[in-house]
């Protein structure tokens, strides 16, 4: 095989997004390869903690030409089950995945882009970046100045409580990852403090139905990027403070407090060896409770208008979050480990810096990069609210495959 090899589309990443795009391209008989640094669904295999389950129910994992066929549509699958399912999806249409291939550099051009890998170079007319939103953990800049004796972990490095240094643990961030890890550590008998900034609180189930069923039913997950106000703000919204568990339990600051977790404000810095926590905790909890009530109001309105109300459970409202006397600082010498559940940015060091914004995010309009023939998939609220969900990747892939096919037609037409 000569170098560079030529194809029409290089898809980078064989997770749900890359495979969904591969399926769309296969259906259109468009020549392509899917480059994967590890195995199919690599991050699900290697970058998830042991107990992690999806936040969305099993039925909500529709991909082009693929639906849930198991006998537990309302359950929440484990990361390992996600990897198995995606591997079965890959086999179902014989996706051209080249595993164990790392991308080193993408050189964009016209009409050819070059994708350099540790296994030779590809010349391609289109590139789809599908490496996911959770590549590089974000940490505040003062993290580097904290005492070296403190073990610092990101959620993609955390596996289980035994991997966290003995002693008191500070978990930073109360969205899905931070709340779940704090909960697991507390249940393992650890002394846990959770630093809480802005977050989105929701009950696991409401009136007998999963909260994601509601969000899907009222059309919220299908809200489009070009229809919402302030899309940049919507894209920055943290993940929902939820856990997928067999017993479908709630996870919020009250349940965490009951489990023995100490709740403090946002971790805002270090001074004289003491961690400083914001005094804004009461307000972020008040904001989360107000938004929760708004959200449940929307569900109730839908229930009434759709005539489904008689089929559903009773209207109720979760108790407001109890905020205790504020703790504003703590001696860092008392902390043995910090888990930074403070978000991610895409890990795309091989992409030209001109394609990134000032925060390291990929510049795009609904997944279409400013360079013709370049696309991205799987980012938060990329084309619709569920873009970063497994269930959203396929809908985005179908639309972007349309755009991509038109690009290829245009690029191949005589000038």
């Amino acid at each position: 095989m000569g170098d560079p090899r030529t194809t029409d589309v290089v898809v980078i990443g064989a997770g749900q997004a890359g495979l969904a795009m591969s399926r769309c391209l296969t259906d259109r008989s468009i020549d392509h390869v899917v480059l994967e640094r590890g195995e199919t669904a690599n991050a699900w295999r290697t970058e998830r903690w042991d107990s992690l389950r999806l936040l969305t129910p099993n039925w909500m994992s529709r991909l082009p030409g693929w639906t849930y066929r198991g006998d537990d549509p309302d359950g929440y699958r484990t990361a390992g089950e996600v990897a198995q399912d995606l591997d079965a999806y890959r086999r179902s249409f014989d996706a051209p995945v080249r595993s164990g291939t790392s991308v080193l550099k993408v050189v964009h051009g016209s009409p050819w882009h070059l994708v350099e890998t540790d296994d030779g170079t590809w010349r391609t007319r289109a590139v789809v970046v599908a490496t996911g939103a959770c590549g590089t953990p974000r940490r505040p800049s003062f993290a580097d100045e904290l005492p070296g004796s403190i073990q610092q972990l990101a959620p993609i490095e955390y596996r289980n409580p035994s991997g966290v240094a003995d002693g008191r643990v500070l978990v930073v961030g109360a969205s899905a990852s931070g709340a779940q890890i704090a909960d697991e550590l507390a249940r393992a008998g650890r002394d846990v403090t959770l630093a809480v900034g802005e977050h989105v609180r929701l009950p696991r189930s409401y009136r007998g139905m999963d909260v994601h069923w509601w969000m899907d039913a009222i059309g919220q997950l299908d809200e489009r990027y070009d229809e919402v106000e302030e899309i940049e703000r919507a894209r920055r919204l943290p993940s929902l403070q939820l856990v997928g568990s067999p017993e479908r339990r709630d996870l919020d600051l009250n349940t965490l407090g009951d489990a023995g977790v100490s709740i403090v404000g946002r971790f805002v810095g270090e001074r004289a060896g003491r961690a400083q926590f914001s005094g804004s905790l009461a307000n972020v909890c008040a904001l989360a409770d107000l938004k929760l009530r708004r959200q449940l109001d929307r569900f109730d309105e839908f229930a009434a208008e759709s005539g489904l109300a008689p089929e559903l459970g009773a209207v109720s409202r979760p108790a407001p979050i109890r905020v205790g006397p504020p703790v504003l600082e703590t001696d860092l010498r008392s902390i043995s480990a910090i888990v930074w559940a403070t978000g991610f940015r895409p890990n795309v060091p091989w992409l030209d810096p001109s394609l990134l914004d000032r925060r390291g995010g990929i510049v795009h309009d609904g997944g279409v990069l400013p360079v013709p023939g370049m696309y991205v998939l799987g980012l938060p609220f990329m084309r619709r609210r569920k873009s970063s969900f497994i269930d959203g990747a396929g809908f985005d892939a179908i639309e972007l495959a349309d755009h991509l096919a038109a690009h290829l037609d245009h690029a191949s037409s005589p000038r």
Binding site: R266, G269, S280, N283, A286, L287
Partner: protein
């Protein structure tokens, strides 16, 4: 002839101008870098005068319409002349002023007509800190409580949301709830 059933809300806030500025400053991020300045001159005893006049923003030096001055002092129970608010009281004044400005702006943006907005602010302080009686006691407030009474065309949850959003976007709320690096030097 035209009629409209959308009530006109006027809290005296130019929301369109604020949203326009937000859009422009999102494009030209350098212009969002502001520096506020004050000068202070000691008068006598614990009495001093602080003046604000110019500040930097939108890429250029800016001026207040006219210089504004505040005199601060300590009360008579500390054997001072009480020529003005104490500096910590000025912080409470700043917090209330900032939150009320935010409430008016957020309410305007959300189409809520305000009729009256009143706040009381309490800062709790153990002066054993500033007097050096007890090294375990901090100098500043150990808690601040702000209580709003608002008369407006909105239900209680909507008003709670306005007050919460005002805190979320308040400079002084951020200044008093989060640490700030401070350098004081002699030149």
């Amino acid at each position: 002839m035209s009629t409209t059933d959308i009530p006109t809300v006027d809290n005296g806030v130019q929301v369109d101008a604020l949203l326009g500025a937000k859009a422009q400053l999102s494009e030209v991020r350098e212009a969002a870098a502001f520096t506020f300045r004050a000068t202070n001159e000691w008068i006598s005893g614990t009495h001093s005068r602080t003046t604000v006049d110019g500040f930097f923003g939108l890429g250029a030096d800016q001026q207040h319409r006219e210089p504004h001055q505040v005199e601060t002092d300590h009360p008579e129970i500390f054997a001072s002349a009480d020529q003005g608010p104490t500096p910590p009281e000025l912080v409470l004044m700043g917090l209330a002023g900032c939150l009320s400005a935010g409430i008016a702006s957020v309410a305007q943006h959300r189409g809520i007509q305000l009729r009256s907005v009143k706040a009381t602010v309490e800062g709790r302080m153990d002066v054993a800190g500033i007097l050096g009686i007890d090294p375990e006691v901090r100098n500043g407030f150990d808690a601040i409580a702000v209580r709003y009474e608002i008369d407006a065309d909105a239900d209680a949850d909507d008003l709670r949301a306005v007050v919460a959003q005002s805190q979320k976007r308040s400079a002084v709320f951020d200044i008093v709830t989060n640490p700030t690096a401070v350098v004081v030097e002699l030149v």
